[in-house]
């Protein structure tokens, strides 16, 4: 499948009182048409900020300071963040679902109003047509008696139902890319499974690509075709899901896989934690940020700047001197 999104050397920085935070520090990745991609990392690794950068939703003290975001042959960073061209892409061609469905829906507007707003704005539909389309969208995501529930407010819905509304909203304008930022983290296990399955089916039906931003390795193992592993603002390993799980090469990826309990493991397996803590991103050294926690580190890691990604064959890339 051809590429739909190509991000080159993206740099997003936050100019805080405490110092400079390089939240996204030279990140390059691509998404193919109709592909499900996983972006994996712990809190503060820059996975959400990189996606907000694609949407041009980074606000002060944050700023996108470099790179390119090529979508449909056009560099989005050349567009004005609040200009009409970017507005016609954001929410319409690239849509986003956030982690907290309570805070990302407006509590004082009905679900219907929030759904029709996007439809009227992006699709140019009139009131009755957009209402019709909104009801259909709600029905598609499995909300029972959509015709009456459309006039309810967000607090009338449970967490899982709210996230269904968010999915309906995200897909209502037939986007090319749906970005789901920790879409199920706040929800119960069985609801998580329902929603992920729904999202997978829906993007298939709409021929869209899905980016799942998560810290859960199980979720990407189940749904993603390719994954990117992020640490401290950088992509440290990339590849097809199978390559990465069968043959993880970056010490951080190896560490992550060893430190999580697996549902199917034999009793008595000891977890191997990653020593130390995730780094503080303020005024970081240019060397590999994982080296203080790394058991494979060498002299080179402590002296030279962060290693670039090297190609290991078949779309598998790793950023480590000692792989």
């Amino acid at each position: 499948m051809p590429e739909i999104l190509q991000v080159n050397n993206l740099e997003t920085q936050f100019f805080t009182e405490g110092g400079l935070v390089k939240a996204v520090d030279g990140v390059s990745y691509h998404i193919d048409e109709q592909e499900i991609v996983g972006l994996v990392g712990e809190s503060g690794c820059g996975k959400s900020v990189s996606q907000l950068s694609v949407m041009q939703l980074v606000s002060t003290p944050g700023k996108i300071v470099g790179g390119e975001i090529i979508f449909d042959g056009q560099n989005l960073l050349e567009l004005e963040a609040n200009g009409p061209e970017m507005r016609s892409i954001r929410g319409a061609k690239i849509a986003m679902i956030f982690q907290e469905p309570m805070t990302s829906l407006n509590p004082v507007l009905t679900i219907g109003r929030q759904l029709t707003e996007t439809l009227e704005l992006h699709m140019g539909l009139n009131k009755s047509a957009s209402r019709e389309k909104a009801i259909e969208a709600l029905r598609d995501v499995g909300i029972p008696s959509a015709e009456s529930r459309i006039d309810d407010y967000p607090h009338h819905f449970s967490g899982g139902m709210r996230q269904r509304v968010m999915i309906a909203m995200g897909l209502s304008c037939n986007p090319k890319i749906l970005i789901a930022d920790e879409p199920t983290t706040a929800l119960d296990v069985t609801t998580q499974a329902q929603l992920l399955e729904l999202m997978k089916d829906m993007v298939e039906q709409y021929h869209a690509s899905l980016v799942i931003v998560t810290h859960n390795l199980g979720v990407v193992a189940r749904y993603a075709q390719r994954i990117y592993i992020m640490y401290a603002g950088r992509i440290v390993e990339a590849g097809t899901t199978k390559d990465i799980f069968a043959d993880p090469r970056h010490p951080y990826t190896i560490g992550l896989l060893k430190c999580i309990p697996r549902l199917d493991e034999e009793r008595g397996r000891k977890l191997v934690p990653i020593v130390g803590l995730p780094p503080n991103l303020i005024n970081m050294q240019p060397t590999c940020a994982f080296s203080p926690r790394c058991s494979y580190k060498s002299e080179k890691c402590l002296k030279e700047p962060w290693p670039p990604l090297t190609h290991l064959g078949n779309e598998h890339y790793v950023g480590c001197f000692n792989e």
């Binding site: 712990e42 309990p261 493991e265 803590l277």
Partner: protein
């Protein structure tokens, strides 16, 4: 009687905890939320029992009843052979010394204006466990060392610690009075993935080191619960639907809800996931205000028959220490 005393540190029988729903100026009771509705289980000395279920299933309420932070409506809770429900406030204090609680959120469960040392040492003072300031100091230092923190950090305040370190402070505080039962209520769900393993390993090592320490481990993450527990009880809407050892739980789950819950947890292995059967439950957990009649899982169950809505199925034994509450099993 005596052997039974020694074997089971905790023996909960038919526990019921209802929360009244009141309405109007006179706060007239209009209904009950049946948070825990007839739960029976036992924890052996030195064992970890996992309590797993989705939000609202009553697992936290059980933990709080065991600590007598709630006064249950009905049932018995035998702790070290003594029923603690009828105990007066003074007696319960003595019992609470031998039980401890580790909370979910290491950010809100530590007083931000108290130093780490005084947080860990406070239970020692409350329960008169130390006789002199020197003994107090030594004991606090020792507790810091047990959980892998440097005692020189005891003058620092909670905000100076990371999430994982704060949870270690919480564990040290729980161990201060040498409890025989620790109730862990989602102790790792607020932590980062790479830090969770550190806390799980700490809890396991403590149990190996302190012989006879038992855990009641409450969590929603089935892979974590399976990893740490000897036996697991699966809850749904205020009742236990299946209890078994954690190996059998994965190898041979019997209750349709347990099967669905297991299937909903993705395994971090794309090769296994490719061929795994997925059971996607329809609908949501009903409100405990108005639970469905009979087996409360029946509206979502794939194996439902008309009899399922008639009576609450009791737990029945299907194997060695394996009990299931389902008439279809």
């Amino acid at each position: 009687m005596n052997t039974q005393l020694n074997e089971h540190i905790l023996d909960v029988r038919d526990l019921k905890m209802y929360f009244p729903v009141t309405r109007g100026l006179l706060r007239k009771k209009v209904a009950d939320v049946k948070a825990v509705d007839g739960v029976t289980f036992k924890v052996k000395r030195g064992e970890t029992l996992g309590l797993v279920g989705e939000s609202g299933c009553g697992k936290t309420t059980i933990g709080r009843c065991v600590l007598r932070l709630y006064q249950p409506n009905d049932g018995q809770i035998f702790f070290e052979g003594e029923d603690i429900i009828p105990l007066p406030e003074k007696g319960i204090r003595e019992v609470r010394r031998k039980m401890a609680l580790i909370f979910q959120d290491p950010y809100s469960s530590l007083d931000p204006r108290q130093s780490a040392g005084s947080i860990v040492g406070e239970p020692l003072k409350i329960h008169d466990m130390v006789e002199s300031p020197i003994e107090y100091r030594d004991r606090v230092d020792e507790l810091f060392r047990i959980v892998g923190l440097d005692p020189s950090m005891s003058d620092r305040f909670p905000h100076e610690f990371s999430g994982g370190q704060r949870q270690r402070i919480g564990v040290a505080r729980a161990l201060a009075c040498e409890p025989s039962l620790v109730i862990c209520d989602e102790p790792i769900s607020a932590l980062d993935v790479s830090i969770q393993a550190q806390v799980i390993n700490l809890l396991e090592e403590l149990q190996e080191g302190l012989k006879g320490l038992s855990y009641l481990f409450i969590a929603h993450d089935l892979s974590v619960v399976r990893h740490i527990s000897d036996r697991v009880a699966v809850m749904y809407l205020g009742r236990i639907v299946e209890v078994t050892d954690s190996q059998t739980l994965y190898d041979d789950p019997q209750h349709p809800y347990t099967q669905a819950l297991l299937s909903a947890v993705p395994i971090a292995d794309p090769f296994i996931e490719e061929t795994r059967e997925r059971i996607i439950l329809q609908g949501e957990v009903p409100t405990p205000l108005d639970p469905p009649p009979g087996c409360s899982f029946h509206p979502r169950c794939s194996r439902v028959i008309p009899e399922c809505s008639q009576a609450v199925p009791p737990l029945k034994t299907v194997g060695a220490e394996h009990e299931v509450a389902c008439i279809r099993v």
